[in-house]
Symmetry: C2
C-alpha cells in the first residue's frame, strides 16, 4: 500500500507486525492509553545491590524473545550496552530485541550479536557507525525500527514497545536505586531519555561506576522504579560522553546561511518577549543561535526558554538573561552539565515531556523556532536525516520530527550542495520528517518557504532576503551537480521508519 | 469474617465491594500491576487555560458516579475542595466520590453535599472536624474509606481507586500546566501527595492563584499530565496552609518521654553514621528530635536523611550537617518551604516514593527510627490513630502505618493517661497500625518493648531505662483511671480502614 506521502509500504512486516500507514502529522491525536505495568513489589528489608551484570541477568530471568533497553546519554563513550550484551551472549539466549534510544560507532560489537542470532531486532531513534551499516547491508534478521525521541517515549508508554528489562547506565546511583547524572566520573547531565524505560519496563537494572550511600540527591530517576543496582569499574569513556565545548562554525558559507536564517526569524515576528528556541549542536546551528543572540541583545528581548539537547552556548544565553529557563533532555557538553547541576531553572525533561505526541502536551508544542538539518529535502519539503543519498543509514530523526511538528517555525538550514550532490531533490531517499511540518528551507543560494505558509511568504517578501520556490532551488543545485542518478535499492526491507505517532512514514531497503 | 487480628469484618460492603481481609503487614508483597491510564492527547496548538472551574467541569464531562480527587497540601487553609464541590453542586450531579488525601475542619461545607446526596463516598488518609464527625454519625451514604499515605498512592496506581478528575491546587502554575509549590502567595512547598493523582487520573485540572508565563521552573508536576488550567482569586488562606514555626513541647511530662525515647534510640545501636530518622510535627516528637540532635552532636554522627512531612526543626538539623539530605513529601512550615526552594539536597518525594508498599521500594523502607503517636495502643501493640476512645473519627493513619512497617525501630510515644482515659488498653477501639510493626511504646511511667523484638529487649535491659511489659503499663494506667467502660457502637458501618496494601484491617461503626 501507499501512505499519504505516496511511499510504498507493506501491510505486514515479519518481525514488526501490521503496518499503520502515516496519514498526516496530526491525524492520530485522540484518546490513547498509557499501558499497565507489571512489577514485583519490594520486601522492606530487601537489598538491591547485586555483585555483577551476570547476577542481574539471572535475577531478571531473561528469556528468548525478550526486549532489553538502553539509553544513549553516554553517546559514543557508552560501555553499558556492550557489557550487557557480552554477558547475555554467554547465556545462550537468542532472539533478543535491543531497544536503544540511539546507537553509536562504539556499539560495533553488536554486529557480531546480530550475526550470531542473539540479537534479531533493534529499535533506535538514531544510529551511526558499524551497526547502522550492518543493518543497511541486511545483516539483522528483522527490520530495525527507527523512532523519533518523542515517538520512542510514546511507543514505550503505549506498549508498542514492551521492555522486559531496562539497563540504565547511571553516572551516580545509591544502594537503593536512586540515580542522578550530575555527579561521578561519568557525569553526563540530565537523563531524559531513560525516564520512560525506568517507568514502563517490567524490570529495571541500574548500572553505575559511582555507587554511593543512600540517598543520591538530587535524584533524577527515583528508587521506586529500580529493581537492582550493579556496580562496575566504568560505564563509559569520559571523552566520548560529553565534548569539552561546542563551537560555532567558521565556514563562510555556514555563517551566511546562519545570518539569513536569523533574518527569517526576525521577519517572522516571533522574535519578541517570551521567544522560545531550539537548535542542535552543529556549527551552523550554533551560528544561528549566535546571530539570534545578537538580535535579542539589540532589541532587549527576554525569551522564555531554550530547549532540547543543551549546549554551553545555550547556557551562556540563559546566564546572560536572554532566556528565563532551559528545558534539557540531554546535556551536550560539560558546561551544560555544570549549569544543570547548579541552576534550578535549568530544568530537566523526560523524552515524553519533550516530544511525545500522545500525552497532554509536550515541550515541543511551545517552541517558537526550531533549527533543523537535513541530508536531503524534496520539493514537498519532506526531509531525510536517516539515510545518505546512497541509501545507507547514517542517522535518524532523534528530535527532528518532534520539534518540526511542534514549533511555530521549523527551519531547515543546509548548504545547497554537499559532496557534489544536490540537497534539494524531487524525492528524498527516505522520508524522516513530513514536509507539512517544515516551514522554511534556508540555503546559501536562496530561501524557500513552504507554500502552505502564505502568511510567512508575505512577511518574507517584504525583506531583501532571496526568497524563491523550492523548485528553483532544486534547479540551481542541479545546474551545479547535474541531475543525480537514482540509486537502485534491493527488495529486502532493512528498516521501518516510524513517525512519532507510531504510523509508518517510510521504509529503508537493503543496499 | 475475622481478619488475622481478630477484628470482625464483613465479606462484602455496599459501596465498597468485596473485602480482602488483612493477613499481616507483609503478606501481600508480590507481583502487582500499575494500571493503564486513558488520556486525550493534546493538539500542538491547543490552549489549556480555561476561564472558570465551571468551564473545567464541563470540559471534563463529569457524570454521576464519578470520583474526583484533591490533595491536602493546603491543609486547613484549602479553598479548592470547597470551590469545586460548590460548582459541582450547581450541575445537579449526584453519587460523587471525593478522594481527598486528607480532610480538615475547613472542609465543613462537604457535610451539606453528603446530605444532599451529591457526595455519597469519601476516601481520605486523615480526617478531622465536621466531615469526620458527620461520617461518624452515619451521614455519608457509603462507608468512608480510610487509607494510609502510601496506601492511597498504591490504590491510585493499582486502580483500586480510579480517579476520573483530579483537581490540583497549584500555588504556581504556568499556562501549559507545569506546577510548582514553592512560589506564589499560597506557596506550600512540595506537592508529594498530588503526584499519583496527576499521573493516574483520566482528567487533571490545575487550579491556581498564581498563573505565570510558561515555564514555571523549578517544575514539580509536569505539563504532560495536565489537561486544563484555571486561575482563581485565591486557592487558600496562608494562615491555614503553613504554620509560622513548629515548637518543641515545654511540658515536663512530654520532655521526660522524649528524653527516654532518645535513650531507647541510643541503646538500639542504630544511632551511628548513616542514621535516618522521621518524626511528626507534634511538640513531644520535636522534643525527641531535639534530644537526638544533641546525641548526634556529642557523638559527631552524620546521618543520611530525615524524612516525612518536614518541619523547620528538621531543616535546622540538615543545615547543621547532621543529615546529608531531607526527603520531603509535605512542608509543615515556612522554613521547610524556604529550604526546599533553595537546597537541591532537600529532595521532594511523591506519596508513592514515600510509602507505597507495592512499588520497587519506598523511602520508609530505609528508615532507621520512626517516632509515632497513638490515641490508644493495645497489649498486642496495635495502635489507633483513627478514632477517639469514644469511637469518633478524629484522625487516620496518614504515614503512621507506612513508616511503622518500613522503619527498623518504630516507637510510639505517648502519655500513659490522657483526659482521664488510659492509653494502653486490651483492645483498641480501631486498629490503624498493626502491632507487629510497632517495636516500642515509651510513656512517662515506663517503656514496653514488643516481645517479638527480643534483640531489643536484651539491649534495653542493659540500660537503666524502666523496661516493663505492656500489660504492666496497662495495669499502672488502670490504677490511675479505673477500667474504662466499653463503648457501645451501633451496627451501621461508617468507615472501612484499609491497611497500606489494600486489605481491611478494621472498620468503624456509627456512634
Amino acid at each position: 500500500m501507499k501512505n499519504i506521502l505516496g511511499r510504498e509500504i507493506p501491510e505486514y512486516i515479519e518481525g514488526y507486525g501490521t503496518v499503520k500507514a502515516f496519514k498526516g502529522a496530526f491525524a492520530s491525536l485522540r484518546e490513547v492509553e498509557r499501558k499497565a505495568v507489571k512489577l514485583q513489589s519490594a520486601e522492606p528489608t530487601e537489598k538491591k545491590v547485586l555483585s555483577s551484570i551476570k547476577d542481574a541477568i539471572e535475577k531478571c530471568t531473561i528469556k528468548d524473545g525478550m526486549t532489553v533497553s538502553f539509553h544513549h546519554h553516554l553517546r559514543n563513550g557508552d560501555y553499558v550496552l556492550n557489557m550487557v550484551l557480552e554477558e547475555l551472549s554467554k547465556t545462550g539466549i537468542k532472539d533478543i530485541r535491543v531497544a536503544a534510544s540511539s546507537i553509536f560507532p562504539v556499539h560495533a560489537p553488536l554486529v557480531e550479536h546480530m550475526k550470531s542470532g542473539m540479537v534479531t531486532g533493534i529499535c533506535a531513534n538514531y544510529m551511526s557507525g558499524p551497526v547502522a551499516e550492518a543493518i543497511s547491508r541486511g545483516e539483522l534478521k528483522y527490520p530495525a525500527i527507527m523512532h523519533t525521541h518523542g515517538g520512542r517515549a510514546r511507543a514505550i508508554e503505549s506498549g508498542d514497545i514492551s521492555i522486559d528489562i531496562a539497563f540504565i547506565a547511571a553516572p551516580t546511583c545509591d544502594t537503593y536505586g536512586n540515580i542522578n547524572g550530575v555527579e561521578g566520573k561519568s557525569a553526563c547531565g540530565t537523563l531524559g531519555y531513560a525516564v520512560p524505560d525506568a517507568m514502563y519496563a517490567e524490570k529495571v537494572v541500574a548500572i553505575t561506576d559511582n555507587l554511593i550511600p543512600y540517598p543520591a540527591c538530587p535524584i533524577e530517576i527515583t528508587q521506586e522504579y529500580i529493581d537492582f543496582v550493579v556496580e562496575v569499574e566504568s560505564i563509559g569513556d569520559p571523552n566520548g560522553i560529553v565534548s569539552g565545548t561546542t563551537q560555532i562554525t567558521k565556514d563562510p558559507v555556514g555563517l551566511k546561511i546562519a545570518k539569513m536564517t536569523s533574518e527569517v526569524i526576525e521577519a517572522s515576528g516571533l522574535l519578541k518577549k517570551g521567544f522560545s528556541f531550539q537548535t542542535g549542536a552543529g556549527g551552523t546551528s550554533l551560528a544561528v543561535a549566535d546571530y539570534v543572540k545578537k538580535l535579542m541583545q539589540q532589541k532587549d528581548i527576554k525569551g522564555s526558554f531554550a530547549a532540547g539537547g543543551i549546549t554551553g552556548y545555550m547556557v551562556e544565553m540563559f546566564e546572560e538573561g536572554l532566556f528565563e529557563s532551559l528545558f534539557d533532555v540531554q546535556c551536550f557538553d560539560l558546561k551544560a552539565v555544570e549549569s544543570y547541576r547548579e541552576n534550578k531553572r535549568h530544568q530537566n525533561m523526560s523524552a515524553s515531556m519533550y516530544g511525545n505526541p500522545h500525552n497532554k502536551g509536550a515541550v515541543v508544542n511551545n517552541l517558537d523556532v526550531m533549527i533543523l538539518g537535513a541530508t536531503e529535502i524534496d520539493t514537498a519539503f519532506n526531509a531525510n536525516v536517516t539515510t545518505g543519498s546512497n541509501g545507507m543509514i547514517m542517522g535518524g530523526s532523534g528530535g527532528h520530527s518532534d520539534t518540526a511538528a511542534g514549533a511555530k517555525l521549523a527551519i531547515v538550514v543546509t548548504q545547497l550542495v554537499k559532496g557534489r550532490l544536490p540537497i534539494v531533490v524531487d524525492d528524498v531517499t527516505t522520508v524522516t520528517t513530513p514536509g507539512e511540518t517544515i516551514d522554511v528551507l534556508v540555503t546559501e543560494r536562496g530561501i524557500a518557504v513552504n507554500p502552505k505558509r502564505q502568511d510567512l511568504i508575505e512577511k518574507l517578501e517584504k525583506t531583501k532576503l532571496p526568497i524563491m520556490s523550492i523548485e528553483e532551488l532544486k534547479q540551481i543545485a542541479e545546474k551545479m551537480t547535474g541531475t543525480p542518478e537514482k540509486i537502485e535499492a534491493e527488495d529486502q526491507l532493512v528498516a521501518v521508519i516510524e513517525y512519532r505517532d507510531g504510523t509508518v512514514i517510510d521504509t529503508v531497503k537493503k543496499i
